[in-house]
Symmetry: C2
Subunit: 275 residues, 2 copies
């Protein structure tokens, strides 16, 4: 029963939530860094387009990764739970050095992949060093606690964010995406106000948080990473307010980091790019 255990060092692969809307070109710094981590030219990338309902989403990323110059780029289509037990598909995933989940709807990822052999394989692979990236819905699905849906707005309200179990690569963060573009501070604060043990990561479009095996995050991309740290929270009124009513939060720590900025999830210290 793992969640009650304490931290220990690991050879875990990188966990890379991307805020959506990343530049889909071969010069994208985010996609290039992901390829580089996964072995450069020798990387074996698997794309999971499950979140998307569009047929060509996987193809588009396959083209870009191929243009970047790697030989082995596979699309593994997982359209139902039976697909997630298919030995051929599992073998392709088993062979990957990097796994990339596209955008779409995170509830498609959690309802189709959750609890299947693919989910187990991805968790184990990441624990053993495989890098896992997800953009937009693919980013939301990454942590143990996933924002399933919610509404926009700057201030937290009871019920504004609906949480659901995610893939569970880490429970240290709750991730929201298209963050600045869709005004999601209120919904991320609402998600944290239920139980302020995790750190909130609000990832802007064309921006990624590279969470290393040492639990240090580095920001890459043209937008910002909003870090919401509830360590010093003195009060959350979530238990006292009616549904849809504003929530009082006292003592939230907030950081906005840009490219090159770092945040240590263990010490909860932020450093700007120059630091």
């Amino acid at each position: 029963m793992c969640p009650a255990k304490v931290d220990h060092p690991s050879n875990r692969g990188y966990i890379i939530p991307i805020g959506g809307g990343e530049k889909k070109v071969k010069t994208s710094s985010i996609l290039n860094r992901f390829v580089e981590l996964s072995g450069g030219r020798k990387a074996r990338i698997v794309i999971i387009p499950t979140a998307s309902r569009l047929e060509d989403t996987g193809d588009r990323y396959q083209e870009i990764f191929t243009e970047i110059g790697i030989d082995t780029v596979d699309i593994v289509s997982l359209d139902n739970r039976e697909d997630c037990e298919d030995t051929g598909k599992l073998a392709k995933l088993e062979n990957a050095t990097g796994i990339f989940m596209t955008g779409g709807d995170q509830l498609r990822l959690s309802t189709i992949i959750g609890g299947t052999s693919v989910a187990k394989l991805m968790r184990k692979a990441n624990a053993e060093g495989v890098h896992i990236a997800g953009t937009s819905a693919g980013a939301a699905f990454i942590p143990e606690h996933m924002i399933a849906f919610g509404r926009g707005g700057a201030t937290p309200k009871s019920g504004l964010a609906t949480l659901a179990p995610g893939l569970g690569l880490t429970n240290k963060v709750i991730i929201d995406q298209h963050f600045r573009e869709r005004g999601r501070l209120g919904r991320l604060l609402s998600a944290l106000a239920y139980n302020p043990f995790a750190v909130g990561l609000g990832v802007d479009e064309d921006t990624a948080a590279f969470i290393g095996p040492d639990n240090v995050i580095e920001v890459l991309g043209s937008g910002g990473l909003t870090v919401i740290d509830p360590t010093d929270l003195q009060h959350s009124s979530m238990a006292d307010v009616g549904r849809g009513k504003p929530v009082c939060l006292i003592g939230i720590r907030l950081h906005i980091l840009l490219e090159g900025g770092r945040y240590d999830l263990s010490t909860r210290e932020a450093k700007p790019a120059s630091g």
Copy 2:
């Protein structure tokens, strides 16, 4: 980053969700079994009445545990987040062989205790052998994924259950309480439909699920334990339906266990009392 790790044997203490409404008398089989596990006459029990807004909730349990015949029964009042850093209170918890959380509102537990030194201590203590029981709201708060609130009804609907992070002693189960009495099958199914990786436990009143260090559950009490196992789930339409609309689920496995019945969370096998 613990949640991605795989299972391993442990000396973990028992995790004991109680469905609420247990007989508050010294002959209660549930409270006696909890005392016996915690060391019998030599047990050191700490009561956490945080979920309740009534002043005498802790006192009532203190009387019963004292009548059962143990010497050391402390109430540790945690009324705000500052209390959860109090060295005197932490020392009492540190000394416990069994911790008991009363009923009330689980959002009081998660907003006051979540992310504090008390939460860390309880997780570590349980991992090291201390038994942790909770009744009603105290039961809901136990797992990694907690049902914060929801509505009654037998069939699952989108948005029927609102999840939030709980204490995180285990992520293998999602717990609902007052189960039969308040008709909560629909809300527990809704909670599982988001991501069918966990097992749902619906605990009736005056009934407890004793989850052992070996991940085998034994049922005790006058009601039933409803086990919802989504292992064979072929389809969840949670991603496709509008808010408040019914959800299609195909392939759920359901068990109703009574006193003496067992369920193995590792193999997902149920056995009746006589088995």
